[in-house]
Symmetry: D3
Subunit: 147 residues, 6 copies
Amino acid sequence: MSKHKSHRIGQLAILLAVSEEPGIVEASILSSDYQSCIGRVGSMESNKIVAAIETAAKKNGFIREGVYREAHALYHAIIEALHGVTRGQVQLGSFQRTVGLRFAIVRGKPYKEEAEGEWIAVALYGTIGAPIKGQEHETIGLGINHI
Amino acid sequence: MSKHKSHRIGQLAILLAVSEEPGIVEASILSSDYQSCIGRVGSMESNKIVAAIETAAKKNGFIREGVYREAHALYHAIIEALHGVTRGQVQLGSFQRTVGLRFAIVRGKPYKEEAEGEWIAVALYGTIGAPIKGQEHETIGLGINHI
Amino acid sequence: MSKHKSHRIGQLAILLAVSEEPGIVEASILSSDYQSCIGRVGSMESNKIVAAIETAAKKNGFIREGVYREAHALYHAIIEALHGVTRGQVQLGSFQRTVGLRFAIVRGKPYKEEAEGEWIAVALYGTIGAPIKGQEHETIGLGINHI
Amino acid sequence: MSKHKSHRIGQLAILLAVSEEPGIVEASILSSDYQSCIGRVGSMESNKIVAAIETAAKKNGFIREGVYREAHALYHAIIEALHGVTRGQVQLGSFQRTVGLRFAIVRGKPYKEEAEGEWIAVALYGTIGAPIKGQEHETIGLGINHI
Amino acid sequence: MSKHKSHRIGQLAILLAVSEEPGIVEASILSSDYQSCIGRVGSMESNKIVAAIETAAKKNGFIREGVYREAHALYHAIIEALHGVTRGQVQLGSFQRTVGLRFAIVRGKPYKEEAEGEWIAVALYGTIGAPIKGQEHETIGLGINHI
Amino acid sequence: MSKHKSHRIGQLAILLAVSEEPGIVEASILSSDYQSCIGRVGSMESNKIVAAIETAAKKNGFIREGVYREAHALYHAIIEALHGVTRGQVQLGSFQRTVGLRFAIVRGKPYKEEAEGEWIAVALYGTIGAPIKGQEHETIGLGINHI
Ligand SMILES: [Mg+2]
Ligand SMILES: [Mg+2]
Ligand SMILES: [Mg+2]
Ligand SMILES: [Mg+2]
Ligand SMILES: [Mg+2]
Ligand SMILES: [Mg+2]
């Protein structure tokens, strides 16, 4: 029997990315069947954001090295999350703006039915704004995919 | 002197929308200078999402009735939040999908400098998916604007 | 020899749509080889904007009835103009907003070289905003296509 | 050992949707391990396109009834295919245009490595244009997802 | 009492950007309460367009140096204007195209009600096309925001 | 009298781009009044895709050198085709992905009515994915324009 309710995977990813004390959230993940990791990335180049999250996912064993199926699932989750961060055109430097993000990746079984299998959630939270200190506001994005 | 750090306004909005016990978050808002309200809306029509948030904002006195400037600030914050929810085309029914969202609106002064004035944050959190029970996953969006 | 400089066709369309006294602009069009017409349309449905401009173009003989090639050229010019009006997602009612527009269509030869042939410009100017009187600001769009 | 080369799944879907004699293509599918079905749908409402393809997929046993994971994989493949059909904003009626499409769904293992598992391809081919007979041109779209 | 009608701010920005004799338009601005400036920028990089307009706005005292609130208002007005210029994806060099633009910034109170306060309009007008002389057509964009 | 049915131009372009033996398709083009060419391009930069197709079109005499009208028709067909390839944001390298494409350009008269004149179709087919060998899936795009 599942220890957690349906579709909490995104919530955990969001809280990990947003919380100043992710330790509390991580504890609730430890008591669940989810795997998670967090990281930070700042850039004016969106491809660097994608690469940083992919690297963290591989390093932490969230996606199997060399299995495109899993890289594909993660990739689309990242791109969906970037849509929330950018709110329109997924452009950073070409829009004269930069981001400083904390990201969280959570993988596990969010649905009670065994047939639903594993899913992956990518949450991004941080600031977006001009490449001038302080000229920025918060932003968030979440992408979820079956894996 | 400000009681809170820069740009926490989005974080509070997110936590209000995401938390299962928003009471804890609301307490931390009460101790700050922010105003906030939460609500729920579910629809296949994106205009109903917009209207529900606008109505809540007006009813709670977050934007002054009849002042377009404030309605304009809120409107763009809502639309930006919807981009995170929909991740691409801001379409629900025409994409054969529906959302069930909790929303939070937070208004206040997120920056230490007095000249930065008031800002508004709109966070949306919930599920998006097929109009079939259970066939949905989580989604989030955040829009922030000066008001 | 051409009586007008290159690519003035858009400028004329814009001035016809924007000017409070389009008569002055029309005079300058009469002295050129351009054909033009103006009209008005207000709606929360983008398809009604498209249809109104198409109807005006046909009624004024700007595009030949039954010739898809010309309808296709006009159609893409209209859609491009709508992008300027909506600035992101080309949505009106589903975004809880409405437009009141004056439109101008100009057809003619904007380039000196005979091989460049005829082009069509569609300019839209007016207001966009909430379906509440006064809660709106100005907007413009221009689409240009070879025909 | 696999009987087919890597990533031919999309090619088969395209040929099924485009060919005037899909029988020839179907023969080559029969000799492979792929499953496929074709159908037709015409509409000014994009949600009807989505629903028609989902219904065909369920009826033909391409996705397991009640398994969201599979519906989710198919859904995103359909939406991606619609981007190719609409080339910008995924809008039909609100853009005063309609489509008449043949669609093909192919499911199977396009990669040699067993770990890559099953994928699904959705191809759409037909015409898009004004709701006036003959005022239309061809269009295509392809969406591919792991399932 | 206001000397000008509601929402003329965009019209003035457009006329300043479009007119060959902006002097006439500037006279009508002088007799109003609006502030305005014009400039030119040509580039294949959209961030250079953004930066050029931001620099002009700061140099002319249209936005207060170091006040993010004002930079934020201007930024979103610029991005909205770029949507009109690019009509779809806000991309220049990556789409193998370049722009040559005249821009106008107008700041002031476009509404009769004092509570509406100040707004900013950014108009862009010029040519867009291949990086080959003469292979271009006109384009326009307008962004308006409360400031 | 026309030797071919209405709007087959896209179908021919698709088959030329997709087929492993384009010779068969080319034969059917030879027996028609269409002109066609095929080429290959792979890149992480979308502008290189645009440039490669434009160069092939010029070299093969599909568009008249120095005639903007024809370059404009081709350009918009290419951009429309890229929408199908990228399915959302028309971005490659900035999305940490690359494409390997075969392209086909077909020019001719797809409609029976003489007034419909010439049209151009651009089809792109190949793979899109991570810049890692094998981590890619198929993609297609088609753009059609009057010329
Ligand atoms: Mg999804
Ligand atoms: Mg902002
Ligand atoms: Mg053009
Ligand atoms: Mg993919
Ligand atoms: Mg606005
Ligand atoms: Mg078309």
